[in-house]
């Protein structure tokens, strides 16, 4: 049943499994959705989608599959309402309403209804009940609540479920998609990833310290005394190199956030951060202002920060080819006799783990961005999004 929906969901990148699909079938079998499309929307979502970041994809798949159904149900519901005359007490009342509805043009087209609604919203200046034109209660226009017209726009009043299509249309979960550029909180989350692959520092004493136990037991006259110790830790050391060049100015808040996030995640053994301007040359700056003199030698860094540091370079890799390849390419400071490209190669040689995060990375190979393409070949480059950062963290922790 609905196999096309299943396929569309998978095509939209949702990893819906057969098991979940069967669970949904069970829910349908047992009638949890009633015969309502809106209920189906929620029930299917709670069973098939397991992250709010995927709600948007789900919404789009749902719209694609059931858009046609939506129109039919609307007409169907109206027809049913007309046909449902079993309650004789209400007959006269219903007929009167019916009549009114039929004489008015049938307002099934949603856009048309909305347009009229907006126009009338603009013109109306008082409360109306039981009328046939204004927005109010008990009336017969398509607007307001408790009205006789069923295909209209509801205004205020008690709301139950949000209609599936109101939710879909609003795409209210778009902000949760994890491929958009990230904010500070999400940065911190991503950096926690780096922790979970390392051994934790705040671990309690859970290992038996054999030497300590033997010592204590002996000095205790042979009566057993147990000594516990913390498991050996293998803490992550992090080196952050950030581009602070002109083309990075639009991303300065982003960089600031990244910096804050790294400093807030105090579970690293050591964090060092230096700045560079467009490309790494013989000097690295201590502050994002990149003022001449306020710097360290890049070679000093190589000597003092050993190869176990995990290096995150953040930069847009947008530079003129000569800035990368010429040994006089640094127009702002000393080159140190090597081109930027050579310096980057030294970084790569010295450190075992380097990733490059780029806030405006071009997808795939981009021949018009020569420097970026060259750097991409040297370092694994990721776009600075939640998704990219997460993948970068995995790359940093993974074995070569």
């Amino acid at each position: 049943m609905f196999i096309k929906f299943f396929e569309t969901l998978r095509a939209k990148g949702l990893r819906v499994t057969l098991g979940e699909w069967l669970t949904l079938q069970e829910a349908l079998d047992r009638g949890f959705c009633g015969s309502s499309l809106t209920q189906f929307y929620y029930v299917a979502r709670m069973i098939l989608v397991k992250s709010e970041t995927d709600f948007d994809k789900y919404d789009m798949a749902f719209e694609e599959c059931f858009k046609a159904v939506q129109r039919e149900t609307e007409v169907g519901a109206q027809m049913l309402r007309w046909l449902d005359k079993s309650d004789m007490m209400e007959l006269a009342h219903e007929q009167a309403r019916d009549h009114l509805n039929k004489t008015e043009d049938l307002q099934i087209d949603k856009e048309d209804v909305e347009e009229k609604f907006r126009a009338r919203l603009k013109d109306q200046d008082s409360e109306h009940n039981g009328g046939s034109f204004w927005i109010g209660t008990m009336g017969k226009t398509s607007f307001g609540n408790m009205g006789g017209n069923v295909g209209g726009v509801r205004v205020g009043g008690q709301t139950g479920y949000q209609s599936a299509f109101a939710v879909v249309g609003a795409r209210k979960y778009r902000d949760f998609r994890d491929d958009r550029v990230i904010d500070n909180r999400q940065f911190q989350m991503a950096f926690r990833k780096l922790r979970q692959f390392s051994s934790r520092l705040d671990i309690p004493e859970t290992e038996l310290d054999i030497d300590g136990t033997v010592d204590k037991t002996c000095s205790n006259g042979g009566c057993l005394q147990i000594v516990m110790q913390k498991p050996r830790k293998n803490a992550v050391k992090l080196l952050l190199l950030m581009d602070s060049g002109g083309t990075m100015i639009p991303y300065s808040t982003l960089l600031n956030d990244l910096f804050q996030a790294v400093h807030k995640s105090n579970h690293y053994k050591d964090v060092k951060a230096y700045y560079f301007h467009n490309c790494i040359y013989s000097k690295l700056y201590k502050t994002p202002e990149c003022e001449n003199g306020d710097w360290i030698d890049t070679e000093w860094m190589f000597r003092n920060l050993d190869s176990d540091y995990k290096v995150i370079v953040v930069g847009d890799a947008a530079m003129a080819p000569e800035e990368l390849y010429s040994d006089t390419g640094n127009y702002r400071g000393p080159n140190g006799g090597l081109s930027g490209y050579e310096w980057l190669k030294l970084v790569k040689r010295h450190y075992k783990r380097v990733v490059w995060l780029n806030p405006k990375m071009a997808p795939g190979k981009a021949p018009w961005r020569e420097a970026e393409t060259a750097i991409k070949e040297m370092f694994p480059m990721f776009k600075l999004t939640v998704d990219g950062l997460n993948r970068a963290m995995v790359k940093l922790m993974a074995n070569r």
């Binding site: 098991g19 979940e20 029930v43 709670m46 709010e52 979970q196 009566c223 997460n390």
Partner: protein
């Protein structure tokens, strides 16, 4: 079939979607995974469900050091070793040193219970995977005593997560998922009224205006949540602040806004 069961309680206002999720999870006998912004009442939901259904609530609070095994049972070897040294009674009875964890307690209970596994994302990455079998089959085996603990009544399992870590797919597949949206104005008003039935209309309106205005500020670092609004309304009532002062003077705004940078920001922005 008409779904019966959880309909919210007197002091917990649940949206219809949330109620449906709870009831479907119960009906399908699957764990319900709840995510949402901090302060949207994820943990309180389990209390409310337990109350509404008249069942006992067992809370298993997860910390960064929690291991899956601890939820099942712990074999207190060291105690046994010490006892052995001094020749205590019953050292040969291993069962004396097996202590059931929260999950074990829920399985072993004589009646159906609600089990809340709180903040599952705090634990190690492998943690949820280690519980797959136990949550599926609702049983586990104690090696030391050769005993199988099987759930007498399948507990209603609710799991909360703050999305600090991604949960493994294999685990997610087995859950029913619900994301608690931040409550809109109408629902929020209802929630506050549940806590303070006689709150003054004007005061509540002004407080909510300011609250949503703060939430909508773009640069605010930590958005205030439902629980903070409730605390604030409480403070405003106790302090006897006139409603029309709220917007201009922002009394007790420290209850709503916790960070220094945010306080600065709020003081200097136009909240109208």
């Amino acid at each position: 079939m008409e779904l019966q069961g959880f309909q919210g309680t007197n002091d917990y206002v649940a949206s219809e979607e949330l109620m449906a999720s709870v009831n479907i999870a119960i009906a399908l006998k699957k764990p319900l995974l709840i995510k949402g912004e901090p302060g949207t009442g994820k943990t309180r939901l389990a209390e409310a469900v337990a109350n509404a259904l008249g069942k006992r609530l067992i809370i298993w609070n997860i910390k960064s050091t929690t291991k899956a095994q601890e939820g099942l049972y712990v074999y207190d070897t060291i105690q046994r070793l010490y006892d052995g040294q001094f020749g205590e009674e019953g050292v040969d009875d291993i069962a004396r040193y097996i202590k059931l964890g929260k999950l074990g307690e829920a399985f072993d209970s004589e009646e159906q219970v609600v089990l809340l596994i709180d903040e599952i994302d705090k634990a190690d990455l492998e943690f949820p995977n280690d519980l797959l079998w136990e949550l599926d089959q609702m049983e586990f085996y104690i090696n030391e005593t050769k005993r199988t603990v099987k759930a007498k009544h399948r507990p209603i399992v609710m799991i909360t997560s703050n999305a600090e870590k991604e949960l493994p797919d294999a685990f997610l597949r087995r859950c029913i998922f619900h994301y608690i949206d931040f409550p809109g104005r109408e629902l929020m008003e209802q929630i506050v009224r549940v806590h303070f039935p006689d709150v003054e209309e004007h005061l509540l309106n002004n407080a909510m205006d300011v609250f949503y205005a703060i939430r909508s500020l773009r640069d605010v670092r930590k958005k205030p949540s439902t629980s903070e609004l409730i605390d604030w309304v409480n403070a405003l009532q106790i302090g006897g602040i006139p409603a029309d002062k709220i917007r201009s003077a922002l009394p007790f705004v420290g209850v709503v806004v916790k960070k220094d940078e945010d306080l600065e920001l709020v003081r200097h922005s136009d909240l109208s």
